[in-house]
């Protein structure tokens, strides 16, 4: 007996009902199953699967695998950091522990000392803002570079002189 559509139905039913041995196929499928050699062979193949899978359960890792794993876990950093350089519990850093609030206070004190030591800008400079800072820079450049003999007749020197003149006019 061969009917592709019914064979398909029977196979699907067989595959879906493997987990529950109490299930019985509908009468129509049961009749087909008893008469179709292909479906019968298919059911035999499905019945053989648990035993075949059971054989895979006997696979065991090699005896030395754990030693190799342990050696790898202790390896120093290579391509990527290993979880533990040394399989020992982490030790606290040496030296006295400073409470968090003292560390925060020290940070604030440092900040005030640094800001207080910075040169104060004049009111005019503050008004001029960015352009004042630029003028200072050009003056500095002029002093350092414009009189350098290495810059004679270079376009850079001409540009600096021009910028300086513009700045003086302001």
């Amino acid at each position: 007996m061969k009917n592709d559509k019914t064979c398909g139905e029977v196979r699907e039913w067989l595959a879906n009902s493997r987990e529950d041995s109490s299930l019985r196929p509908p009468e129509r499928l049961a009749e087909h199953l008893s008469a179709c050699d292909n479906c019968h062979a298919y059911r035999d193949a499905l019945d053989a699967l648990p035993q075949l899978f059971g054989a895979l359960r006997r696979n065991q890792p090699p005896a030395d695998l754990f030693n190799r794993l342990q050696a790898k876990a202790n390896e120093p950093f290579q391509e990527e950091p290993r979880p533990f350089k040394n399989l020992e519990p982490a030790k606290p850093a040496a030296g006295p522990r400073v409470p968090l609030f003292l560390r925060a206070a020290a940070g604030l004190l440092g900040f005030f000392v640094v800001t207080a030591s910075l040169p104060e800008r004049t009111g005019k400079q503050q008004e001029q803002g960015v352009s004042s800072g630029t003028a200072e820079l050009f003056t500095q450049l002029d002093r350092d570079l414009l009189h350098s003999p290495r810059l004679d007749s270079t376009p850079e020197r001409e540009l600096l002189a021009h910028l300086n003149r513009l700045n003086e006019k302001k």
Binding site: R11, E12, A15, N16, R18, E19, N38, A41, Y42, A45, L46, A48, L49, P50, L52, F53, A55, L56, R57, N59, Q60, P61, P62, L65, F66, R68, L69, Q70, K72, A73, R82, P83, F84, L87, E88, P89, A90
Partner: protein, 192 residues
């Protein structure tokens, strides 16, 4: 997985693992080593890859133990790492082969080396199993070899239980077809 294998990691062992002690790794390996090895062996295309993969899985467990929040069981969490690690390896290998052999199409027939391995019953079945899509294979291995429940598989693979059941059924169908096909081939060889 034999039924007498203990599948729990006690709180002390988990704490040791968290604090990076060698004892924690040893206890974790003692409980789950064989199971992780079998998963790797049955999911990866080459048996020889399983040893490296097993080590990599345990190293990942150590790296990520801080992320384990205990919402799922440790066992589920570890299985997820093991299966994902294998699936990633398979995908990487597939990409490498695709870029190396752009002009050759994948061949579902057994390779010559595979064909010689088919002489052995178990290896023959393993080669059939390896021809299934990786996720179908993962579901089958967790259910049939590791005897995990639908719920455990669903949590480990992060897929709905319905998907677990349908993948199991499709996987079994395909394996049964391969077994029949193989039997037909050997019968015809005997007759000739």
């Amino acid at each position: 997985m034999t039924s007498n294998e203990t599948l729990t990691l006690d709180a002390n062992a988990l704490a040791s693992l968290r604090s990076g002690q060698a004892r924690g790794l040893e206890q974790c390996y003692r409980v789950y080593g064989a199971r992780v090895y079998r998963i790797c062996r049955n999911l990866l295309p080459q048996n020889t890859d399983a040893e490296d993969a097993t080590q990599e899985v345990f190293l990942k467990v150590m790296e990520r133990i801080g992320q384990f929040e205990g919402r799922a069981s440790f066992s589920t969490w570890l299985h997820r790492i093991a299966v994902n690690h294998c699936l990633n390896r398979i995908e990487k290998e597939r990409r490498r082969q695709t870029s190396a052999l752009d002009d050759s199409l994948p061949d579902s027939r057994p390779s010559p080396s595979e064909a010689s391995a088919l002489a052995e019953g178990n290896e023959r079945f393993e080669s059939f199993l390896r021809r299934l899509p990786p996720m179908q294979r993962a579901v089958l291995v967790l259910r049939e070899v590791e005897q995990m429940s639908y719920t455990e598989i669903s949590e480990a693979l992060e897929i709905p239980e319905g998907t677990v059941m349908s993948r199991l059924a499709r996987g079994r169908e395909r394996l049964a077809s391969m077994l029949i096909h193989r039997k037909g081939e050997s019968d015809s060889r005997c007759a000739s």
